[in-house]
């Protein structure tokens, strides 16, 4: 009941949230359509190739004889899921490292941050390509998600650490220490709520970032190209020189959809912040934070 009311108010007072929600819902609805697809995603030449958008094939068909719309439903589902899995895994790492490092300080901080900084300076893209060349056929979708998550937490861990460092010196932390709360409890109960708005925002950004990584790698063919993803679709379109031969719908619709997802997630990120942080919620009501 309460959650519904919060949603209603967010929709009513927050334009960014409404637009973001609509965009993400459209993308999610398209992803869900994949469960009703008349064609298996891996099969080729199930429909006549190279047909421009028509009533029968609303987004046209590819040169490989696939329906662009139904192919897109699978692609966006996999891409979205990839982003969520990567963001979820990397959030856990960055929260753990950032909060503990910032709160504990001393040698714990120094060790964790030297690891952190290593990950910050390490060039991600060549490493991912390297992984692909080493693993080749074992480089499945899940494996790529885990590797990307392991590489994608460092920036946010540093951000979270800087907040935790400031929180450590606040009176309520001293009060918590005085009352005998354990480190884990202090970090989870007292400090986590402070960083959650930032984590929310970085989650959306991280989903965007990991989708970008996935699309880039797929376009270049450095992933499991048989699993349909947005990048994978563009890869196949390039392989068939779709733009040169005028099959624009093969490239345009995946790109449009992924842009919709990017913008939707971004708008959700910034508007969620406003709800989670009670002070900015107050300023929206016209009060002083």
């Amino acid at each position: 009941m309460n959650t519904l009311r919060i949603l209603r108010d967010l929709l009513r007072y927050n334009g960014e949230f409404a637009i973001g929600l609509v965009l993400v819902l459209i993308v999610a609805a398209i992803a869900l359509c994949s469960f009703f697809s008349p064609y298996p995603p891996m099969d080729v030449y199930v429909v006549p190739p190279d047909i421009p958008p028509s009533w029968e094939h609303p987004l046209g068909t590819t040169s490989r004889g696939q329906d662009v719309f139904w192919q897109l439903t699978f692609a966006i589902r996999n891409t979205l899921l990839f982003g969520i899995v990567v963001a979820f895994l990397s959030r856990i790492i960055s929260l753990a490292v950032g909060l503990i490092s910032g709160y504990k300080g001393g040698w714990v901080d120094r060790i964790l941050m030297s690891i952190n900084d290593t990950f910050v300076v390490v060039p991600l893209f060549p490493i991912l390509v390297l992984f692909y060349f080493i693993m080749r056929d074992e480089m499945t979708w899940a494996m790529l998600a885990i590797i990307t998550a392991l590489l994608g937490w460092a920036y946010d861990a540093r951000l979270i650490r800087s907040i935790a460092m400031s929180l450590r010196t606040r009176e309520f932390t001293r009060q918590a220490v005085f009352s005998g709360m354990s480190t884990g409890k202090i970090v989870l109960q007292e400090h986590l709520p402070f960083v959650l708005p930032i984590v929310f925002s970085t989650t959306m950004n991280n989903i965007n970032w990991s989708i970008g990584i996935e699309v880039t790698l797929s376009v270049l063919g450095f992933t499991d190209i048989n699993t349909p993803t947005i990048g994978g679709m563009i890869y196949w379109a390039n392989q068939h020189t779709a733009l040169v031969s005028g099959i624009w719908w093969w490239v345009t619709f995946p790109v449009l959809l992924v842009i919709m997802l990017f913008i939707g997630l971004f708008l959700l990120a910034i508007s969620m912040n406003e709800y989670i942080d009670p002070r900015s919620r107050l300023s929206r009501l016209g009060g002083q934070a």
């Binding site: 009176e171 309520f172 009060q175 009352s179 005998g180 007292e190 709520p193």
Partner: protein, 353 residues
């Protein structure tokens, strides 16, 4: 202000056999020790302090900024963190269920007495409440582990306590920023006293409040103290607050206790020249003469002057003051001071005022 001093205890009260004091601080030395990049610094924030606080008593601690007040009470509460370290001495509490030496306890034992027996209203207590959590959570986080009541019983306990302190239990649902400064301060005090502690340390709880709110907060502390029969160690540099609230008063200067006695005695007959100056600086109604400032400023605690630490600023300083630190000596009944001059002639110092 002086006129509002509390009544002197009757001679019977004074002569009544004293049970052992609740808190005994014995020759406590706590220094900030920094050894870093070849710099070896030692700041003697608490230097050889002995004091005792009885049951059912409000003990005031006064002194200017950087005189070591906060370091002393952090040490007493066992809430010190490096670089502050206890070098010597002991802090003993005689709680109803047994005596405890704060620096001989395991972390678990220390945690067990906190809140339930020993509570600490921290300095800047406006910010001891987590701004992103509701007040209810502050009670649950800090006090719940220290009481036996759980769940709904705990909520009832907290609500009863708030009502007793004339606070609306509805504040439990509020965020700290939704309360006024005075309300927040009261909630903080309620939070610190919810377990009926025997000993309450209050570190400048009235600083940054306007006088009306101050009065409310002070009467709240007084009420709690009388209702629970707890002892309060009350720290502030505001002498007017001391005059209104405390039973006994200790004056700190440069990390040392320089005078201690019943509040009324200290105000009426200060024995230490520093106290005398402090009290003569207080405004009095009808007194239009300009106040004379004490020359100089408090010494650095990293490099305090030898002998009596007050001697460079003291108008009465004699030869021995430059060489020997004066011991705390009881000069009048229940009235101690650390001053060579006062120990030789108690009447001399009063001429300053």
């Amino acid at each position: 202000m002086i006129a509002e001093l509390r009544a002197i205890p009757s001679p019977d009260e004074l002569n009544a056999p004293q049970t052992s004091p609740l808190l005994t601080v014995d020759r406590l030395k706590a220094y900030y020790k920094v050894k870093l990049f070849g710099v070896d610094r030692e700041v003697r924030a608490v230097d050889d302090i002995s004091l005792a606080i009885n049951r059912n008593e409000i003990y005031g601690l006064a002194g200017e900024s950087s005189s070591g007040k906060s370091s002393l009470i952090k040490t007493i509460a066992g809430a010190i963190r490096p670089p502050l370290r206890v070098v010597e001495g002991s802090v003993r509490f005689a709680f109803k269920d047994g005596e405890r030496d704060i620096y001989r306890l395991s972390p678990q034992e220390l945690s067990a007495i906190r809140w339930s027996r020993l509570s600490y209203i921290m300095q800047g207590s406006m910010s001891v409440l987590n701004p992103v959590r509701r007040i209810r959570h502050a009670f649950e986080d800090f006090a719940l582990p220290h009481v036996s009541a759980k769940g709904a019983d705990f909520t009832r306990l907290v609500e009863r306590h708030l009502k007793r302190l004339h606070l609306d239990p509805a504040v439990l649902q509020a965020y700290p920023h939704e309360l006024s400064g005075g309300m927040r301060q009261r909630v903080t005090i309620a939070l610190a006293t919810v377990c009926n502690p025997e000993f309450i340390i209050a570190d400048e709880p009235t600083t940054a409040l306007d006088v009306i709110v101050q009065k409310g907060v002070l009467s709240m502390i007084r009420e709690i103290q009388q209702e629970f029969g707890s002892s309060v160690l009350f720290v502030t540099h505001d002498m007017a607050v001391h005059a209104n609230l405390t039973d006994r008063l200790g004056i700190m200067y440069a990390g040392r206790l320089v005078e201690e006695g019943r509040t009324r005695d200290v105000f009426k007959k200060p024995l230490h020249p520093y106290t005398a100056h402090l009290i003569s600086s207080l405004p009095r109604i009808g007194d239009e003469a300009p106040k004379k400032a004490l020359e100089g400023s408090p010494p650095s605690l990293a490099d305090p002057p030898p002998g009596c630490r007050f001697h460079p600023r003291c108008p009465f300083a004699i030869e021995i003051c430059r060489r020997e630190a004066p011991p705390m000596v009881e000069i009048l009944p229940g009235h101690r001071t650390a001053c060579h001059v006062a120990q030789a002639d108690p009447a001399r110092v009063r001429t300053v005022a």
